[in-house]
């Protein structure tokens, strides 16, 4: 395949190569990497309440209880488009399964009735008791805004939220800050925009040239600082990226990298739309047994055989 010839590709972590490959062949070039398992929090609220941002799910519930007792909304969610709740679920699952089992869940090797997966689903259902009441009327951006405005303490969202905060003039360390989503430190949930090379492409030569630009250090360092994402290589020019992105680059180089669920990296779009349908009900009825049965039925149908 063409990517072998493209100089410098060995610089992408092996986990990334696995995600963009099918049966050992690379099918696309990722031009950027976004991280999904990030928790954005309001430093002001945590400081005033004398709390520290939670590292584990147990911490999360302890902190959330303390905040709730003070009348502060612990967790902002904006799931009018449903996928933000799927996005949150993926982080919560990852927290209890760890990266290996999380990967196997999407390849169909781990059952939804597995005890760690069950723990994740139960945690998610419990978390719904700590969210803003108007979650179904908000978009993911509105929910991130709640954190920066100090209306809610935490929000789990991908790192495009950092771009949103900066575009609104919010200052990192004052209005917002971040840590990996509770219980997922050491894992990096990635999603990416990529370009592919199709079979029988009429202009194969030019496509390959374009992909070489996309894959190159210069190409990625030109694109990503503007997009607000990090390069899919580990040798990007650090001076071109801001504080958040530098932190993300550190984690990207050292963490276990797993595919994001809500953005189509872990499962097919066919499977994902059905998962979103289950989530639409699960966030309301919080029925873990029913959701488990439905998630398992979908996995049986859509997981790679």
């Amino acid at each position: 395949m063409f990517w072998n010839k493209t100089a410098g590709w060995i610089n992408s972590p092996k986990d990334v190569i696995d995600i963009i490959s099918y049966e050992g062949e690379v099918y696309c070039i990722p031009v950027n990497i976004h991280r999904a398992n990030v928790m954005w929090y309001s430093p002001k609220i945590f400081k005033e309440a004398g709390l520290t941002p939670p590292e584990s799910m147990d911490d999360f519930f302890a902190v959330a209880d303390a905040l709730k007792a003070k009348g502060i909304t612990p967790l902002a969610l904006g799931d009018t488009n449903t996928w933000p709740s799927t996005h949150l679920l993926a982080s919560v699952l990852l927290a209890s399964t760890g990266p290996d089992k999380y990967r196997d869940l999407w390849s169909g090797k781990v059952s939804w009735s597995d005890s760690d997966v069950q723990k994740g689903l139960k945690n998610f259902a419990k978390m719904m008791g700590y969210i803003n009441s108007d979650h179904a009327a908000l978009t993911n951006m509105d929910a991130a805004g709640y954190v920066a405005e100090g209306k809610a303490a935490m929000n789990v969202m991908g790192d495009w939220a950092a771009g949103y905060f900066q575009s609104q003039g919010y200052v990192q360390g004052e209005d917002w800050d971040w840590i990996p989503a509770p219980g997922t430190r050491g894992s990096f949930t990635m999603l990416s925009d990529s370009f592919g090379l199709t079979k029988n492409a009429p202009n194969r030569e030019n496509v390959v040239k374009w992909l070489e630009v996309c894959a190159s250090k210069d190409g990625q360092d030109a694109f990503n600082p503007i997009k607000g994402s990090i390069p899919s290589r580990t040798d990007g020019d650090r001076s071109k990226y801001g504080a958040y992105l530098n932190g993300a680059m550190d984690d990207f180089a050292t963490n276990a990298i797993v595919p994001s669920l809500a953005h189509g990296a872990a499962v097919s779009e066919a499977w994902l739309t059905k998962i979103n349908d289950v989530m639409s009900v699960f966030t309301t009825d919080l029925n873990v047994a029913k959701a488990t049965a439905e998630f398992q039925a979908l996995a049986d149908k859509y997981a790679p055989k």
């Binding site: 009441s133 179904a136 009327a137 739309t273 639409s280 009900v281 309301t284």
Partner: protein, 297 residues
């Protein structure tokens, strides 16, 4: 009637392109959708294996589709009822010949000139549970104004209360339209009839009940057809205003079809949803066409 050959040829020339386009892009694609709905096509690549009506049966079993059917039913009933009642009341007020009638007529009709997308975004803001109407009510002292509007998951007899928001938005847009229809109808009633009724001592209510309402009955029927097919096919309003909502409280077959087909690539299932929608609209349109053609004969 005698027509020269040349004229017939000219006529055909005008009619044929339109007919051909209609047959290919409307009827041809309906037949294609019907065919796809009977296959196992689930993914980007076509799979035309015939599976009979299993897609339809599966669909009827899903919670989302069941909710959609109830939503469509209740939305249609209430949307029609509100538009017809409000439309008639507005037209009756204007019919009384109030001053500045043309101004009011334009104001009432104005929402119709907006697209459902604009209406949806507007009402989404107005009814958003934390910042919209609720905030206003709380400001003037109703501290218990906490109805979730389109995010509410309360229901009664499968009627999702969240639909109220959509009914308000849709009726706001279409009441002016029924008003215009009724106003035209009321104006066409000969004034002699009303005057002679007055001379005979008929009161206002008697005139409305025995003269106005019976004479505008055909208009109510037409209005129901127009409103009915708007509500049965509703997509844009719900898409812009609420999306499918928590537990599908504001979902409709059109949204379900769009997400299933064009997001999830479940082509056979999406086609089956479209066939159900065609059936629903046919239930409304066919009786209308029959009665119209009967009238012409």
């Amino acid at each position: 009637m005698y027509r020269p050959k040349k004229e017939i040829r000219k006529g055909l020339l005008v009619v044929i392109p339109f007919t051909a386009v209609l047959f290919i892009f409307v009827y041809g694609f309906i037949i294609w959708s019907a065919r796809v709905s009977l296959t196992a096509w689930d993914g980007i690549l076509p799979n035309m294996k015939f599976v009979g009506f299993s897609n339809y049966l599966e669909l009827l079993k899903t919670q989302r589709f069941q909710t959609d059917l109830f939503n469509t039913f209740y939305f249609t009933i209430f949307f029609m009822a509100v538009c017809i009642v409000v439309g008639f009341l507005l037209s009756y007020l204007l019919y009384q010949g109030i001053r500045g009638e043309a101004v009011f007529r334009t104001i009432y009709l104005f929402p119709l000139s907006l697209s459902f997308v604009v209406t949806g975004v507007l009402w989404r803001w107005l009814l958003s549970p934390e910042v919209g109407l609720n905030a206003l009510l709380r400001m003037i002292g109703f501290s218990h104004a906490d109805f979730g509007w389109f995010t509410s998951t309360q229901s009664f007899a499968k009627y999702n209360f969240a639909l109220i928001s959509l009914i308000i938005a849709a009726s706001w847009q279409y009441s002016g339209y029924t008003m215009a229809m009724y106003l035209a109808g009321l104006r066409s009633i000969p004034t002699q009839i009303i005057e002679s009724a007055k001379i005979d001592g008929a009161g206002e209510w008697r005139i409305v009940r025995s003269i106005l309402l019976p004479s505008i009955r055909p208009i109510t029927f037409s209005a129901m057809i127009v409103l009915g097919h708007v509500s049965l096919k509703i997509f844009d309003l719900a898409y812009a205003m609420t999306g499918k909502g928590p537990s599908f409280v504001t979902d409709f077959p059109g949204l379900f079809m769009f997400e299933t087909t064009f997001r999830g690539n479940h082509y056979a299932e999406g086609s089956a949803i479209s066939m159900f929608m065609l059936l629903l609209v046919a239930l409304v349109i066919i009786p209308y066409l029959r009665s119209t053609f009967k009238g012409e004969e």
